[in-house]
Symmetry: C2
Subunit: 162 residues, 2 copies
C-alpha cells in the first residue's frame, strides 16, 4: 500500500503483483473536514487508515516522505498526518518504508524531475488502465507503492520477473 | 494531561485540581530509541501514550504546538510525534487543546518570553514541590497542563476558586 500523506486529502493505493503484471486492488482518497479541529481530523485519518489496513492487510506500506514546501503550515499538517499513517501501518503489522518525492518520480518515470502529468500517465501505463487514475492523490499514492516494488530486495524482483 | 511532544523525548504531566490547589498525579518522559526506524518509534510513542491515557483518563489533553525551529529535520519529527499524540488523545475520549509556547510561558510565568529556568521554578512553585521537577521535558509538559487550567472556560475557573 502506498500512502501520499495529507490532512485534507490523504491518498492511498493498494497494488498487487501477479507474475509480471501489477494491478491496483484499491485506490482512493481519505478526506477530513477543514472545519473540524486538528486533533479530531488526525484521529479520523487514523481510523480510516486502520480500516483500510485491516481490509487489505498489506505486507508493506510505503509512505511519501514529507519535505518542506513553501507553505510551512501545510507542511506541518502533512507531517502530522504522515506520523499518524506510519504509526497506524506499524500497528497493523506492516513493514513501513519512506521514499522521497524524487525517488518516487525516478522509480516510476525514470526521471526525478517528472511532472504530475507524466507521473499520472506512467501510473496508468504500469497498471494497464484505459483512463488515468483519478483523483490525482490516489494516483500519487499508487506511484509510492510502485516505487516500493521497484526498490524491493533483489530476490523479490527476480521472483517477480520469472 | 499536558504533552510536550517529541520523538526522542516526549514529556507528559498529569495534574489534578483539588479546590484551589493543583497537584501533579504523574509526570515523566517517554523515550524512543534513535537507532530504531522512524515508523516503529512513532508506533511505540502511540502505544505508550495510549497506556498513560488509559491509566489516568484525563478529561482534557493539552499539547504544545510545534513551531518551526532552526532544525527543520527535528521540527518534522516533533510534528509527527504531535500528530500521533493528538490522535491518541482523541481516541482515548479526551478533549484536546493546543497551546503555543508563548501562551504556555505567559500562563505559567506571566511573561511570554520566560526562559527554561523561570518556567521550571514556576512549575515547582505552582505544584508546591520542594525540588524542581525533573527531567525538564516532564516539567515542560506540566506547564502545558497548567496553561490549559488557566485557559479553561470562566465557569470552571470560578468553580476552582471557591
Amino acid at each position: 500500500m502506498g500512502i501520499d500523506p495529507g490532512l485534507s486529502r490523504c491518498g492511498y493505493g493498494v497494488v498487487r503483483q501477479k507474475g509480471r503484471a501489477t494491478e491496483a486492488a484499491a485506490a482512493g482518497v481519505i478526506r477530513t473536514d477543514k472545519d473540524d479541529p486538528l486533533p479530531r481530523r488526525l484521529h479520523e485519518l487514523q481510523n480510516e487508515l486502520a480500516e483500510l489496513l485491516g481490509a487489505y492487510r498489506p505486507d508493506a506500506v510505503a509512505v511519501e516522505q514529507v519535505l518542506f514546501q513553501v507553505n510551512v503550515r501545510t507542511a506541518m499538517a502533512v507531517g502530522q498526518a504522515s506520523g499518524v499513517a506510519m504509526a497506524a501501518a506499524v500497528g497493523a503489522g506492516a513493514q513501513v518504508f519512506e521514499y522521497s518525492p524524487t525517488q518516487i518520480k525516478k522509480a516510476v518515470t525514470g526521471w526525478g524531475g517528472a511532472d504530475k502529468e507524466q507521473m499520472g500517465k506512467m501510473v496508468q501505463t504500469l497498471l494497464g488502465l484505459r483512463q488515468p487514475l483519478k483523483p490525482v492523490d490516489a494516483a500519487d499514492a499508487v506511484a509510492v507503492a510502485l516505487c516500493h516494488l521497484a526498490h524491493r530486495p533483489a530476490a523479490s524482483r527476480i521472483w517477480a520477473a520469472t
